[in-house]
């Protein structure tokens, strides 16, 4: 009976094996001189050549460093402002009118459910040279020629962070809202009896109760430091901002699908995945040490 139950789930485990585990086999491409259409079986085994090639001359080192800088810059900004959803939730909970609170929550969660292509399309419709914002500005006589907001190469990290925040802030706050709702009512009462002001209640009752949630989410964010994802940066990239928008995920894509350098791309991909797993284990270990609880 116990084994028959396992047989029921076997087909699904096979699916998982094929689509989640088998791609790891794709890492072998990093050790071959693979150029399509020549199949892998006829490609030459080159060992760690591609890994060495990443740092073989100054030009390549500089390029990789720029990509790493972008990744660190954008992920770093995310970490720096990782407290925003918590603050969002705290102040949202301060709103007394339930209808207004629900309305704000509904409206600010909406952007989370649209794709990055749509975000880009909205951005384009609003901010391109013939977009709505430029139209309004010239309509009111504020500018003579359109401002090219999407083609600037400076402040790309910041604008990317702003789009991420616009899309995800309301959604990320939900977990904290759940945490606030879980706070024992008697704690509030005790604070009020002691004559605590609103700010004091937030500081001494609400925030301490949210810190465990914040800590777990922060650790997960650290663990995915190198994984910015591809879509956002792919859709927002153009000839003008390529230098500063190329994060590791986008760089890997551009190398392979744009430049045909599959093997180098897989080599970087592999390093990235390995470092990510190490990061995950590290933060998990850190969590066990400091809180006595693992996060994954």
């Amino acid at each position: 009976m116990a084994f028959r139950k396992f047989l029921y789930i076997l087909p699904f485990m096979v699916l998982l094996g094929v689509f989640a585990y088998y791609p790891l086999y794709g890492w072998v491409y990093a050790f071959y001189d693979y150029t399509p259409p020549i199949p892998l079986s006829k490609s030459e085994f080159v060992g760690f050549k591609w890994f060495h090639s990443l740092v073989e001359n100054q030009v390549k080192i500089d390029q990789l460093l720029q990509v790493i800088k972008n990744t660190f810059g954008i992920s770093g900004l995310g970490l720096l402002f990782s407290w925003l959803p918590m603050v969002f939730a705290i102040f949202l909970a301060e709103i007394k009118s339930i209808r207004f609170r629900k309305f704000i929550q509904t409206v600010t969660t909406l952007p989370n459910f649209i794709s990055w292509v749509l975000v880009y399309s909205l951005a384009f419709s609003m901010f391109s040279s013939e977009g709505i914002v430029n139209g309004m500005l010239s309509q009111f006589g504020l500018i003579d020629s359109p401002v090219l907001l999407l083609q600037k190469s400076d402040n790309v990290w910041l604008t990317m962070w702003m789009w991420t925040t616009w899309k995800a802030l309301g959604w990320s706050a939900i977990l904290y809202i759940a945490a606030i709702m879980g706070i024992d009512e008697s704690l509030y009462e005790a604070a009020r009896v002691d004559g605590a002001t609103r700010m004091q209640v937030i500081r001494h009752v609400v925030i301490p109760n949210m810190l465990p949630t914040y800590f777990v989410l922060l650790m997960l964010q650290v663990a995915s430091f190198l994984n910015n994802g591809l879509e956002q940066y792919f859709v927002f990239q153009n000839a003008f901002n390529k230098e500063t928008i190329q994060v590791l995920d986008l760089y890997v894509y551009n190398l392979a699908m744009g430049g045909g350098s599959y093997s180098v791309s897989v080599a970087i991909s592999m390093l990235k995945s390995l470092i990510s797993v190490i990061l995950l284990f590290s933060v998990n270990g850190l969590s066990k040490l400091t809180r006595g609880e693992s996060i994954v």
């Binding site: 699904f12 485990m13 794709g26 409206v107 709505i132 010239s138």
Partner: protein
């Protein structure tokens, strides 16, 4: 007295800031919608800010003259319907099975499933293996990889474990097998969590872009998202084409309905986002519950 004044000040500040952010969240959608239904020449001059002027719906008729748009809508709809049903079914079944303590190797297989949330081989190795499996330019590539979704399995499992054990035991004593218990007892009880899973899965399918980008070169398999991305970059040639088609017909294209690069782009944007905007108010109440069930597990 002073604390009360600061209290009021804080309240005012909170209301203002939240209202502002809410406005920033909805205005882009609102602004584009009113621009697509206003006269195109007025819209192009940037005069549509608060409300539409000279309302017409010609844009929405015209964009479907662009070849490929209707087909892409069908592909997106197809993958959403088929993919979502299979994902919901698989998540329900696996969530239920992983709650069966007497299953052979339960702990191992549950870990085997959950751990895939935290690592991946990378997009290019994934692309290369998908290609070796002949899943490029193949509709199945939209469906098969999404069937087993660990996060949804966790959601269902947590839910099943929160239901009273006696239900399953009673059914088991009455002689019901695993499958009967699943279909007759658990499935009806799990409806709320399955609704949440269905919403998440459907939104994921509808919004998916990366798989088309990596795997599909056959334009018959392009999804709406992908086609929208292409349109953003080549809308000028499309507007010319639609205008030429209209010029041949009996209706005289006035300036108000003449397609511009922007009108085409905005109209397609609204068509792609419309399903989300339409179902969002309905599903909004489901996902808050759903994500909280997930949060309890942590």
């Amino acid at each position: 007295m002073t604390t009360r004044t600061t209290d009021k000040l804080i309240t005012a500040l909170i209301y203002t800031l939240f209202s502002l952010f809410a406005l920033i969240c909805v205005y882009p959608f609102y602004s584009i919608i009113i621009n697509t239904i206003s006269a195109n020449d007025i819209s192009a001059r940037g005069e549509i800010v608060f409300y539409p002027k000279q309302i017409h719906f010609q844009n929405y008729i015209d964009v479907f003259k662009i070849p490929g748009l209707a087909d892409a809508a069908l592909i997106s709809l197809g993958r959403t319907v088929i993919g979502t049903s299979l994902t919901v079914g698989a998540s329900a079944f696996l969530g239920f099975m992983f709650s069966q303590t007497d299953m052979w190797g339960r702990k191992f297989w549950y870990r085997f499933t959950v751990i895939t949330m935290f690592f991946n081989a990378g997009i290019i190795p994934w692309y290369l293996t998908m290609r070796s499996l002949h899943l490029t330019n193949n509709f199945l590539a939209y469906i098969l990889p999404t069937i087993v979704a660990p996060f949804f399995v966790i959601l269902v499992k947590t839910f099943v474990e929160s239901t009273p054990k006696e239900l399953q035991q009673a059914a088991s004593i009455d002689g019901a097998g695993t499958m009967t218990i699943f279909f007759r007892v658990m499935l009806p009880i799990c409806k709320p969590i399955l609704a949440t899973v269905a919403i998440f899965a459907a939104v994921d399918q509808w919004n998916a872009f990366q798989d088309t980008l990596l795997l599909m070169t056959d334009s018959n398999l392009y999804s709406l998202q992908f086609i929208l991305y292409n349109y953003i970059n080549q809308a000028s040639s499309l507007s010319t084409m639609v205008n030429l088609q209209n010029a041949g017909s009996t209706t005289i294209a006035s300036l108000a309905t003449k397609q511009t690069t922007t009108s085409i782009r905005m109209t397609v944007t609204i068509i792609v986002v419309a399903p989300i905007l339409l179902v969002y108010p309905i599903f909004q109440r489901f996902f808050v519950k759903g994500i909280m069930i997930g949060a309890v597990k942590g």
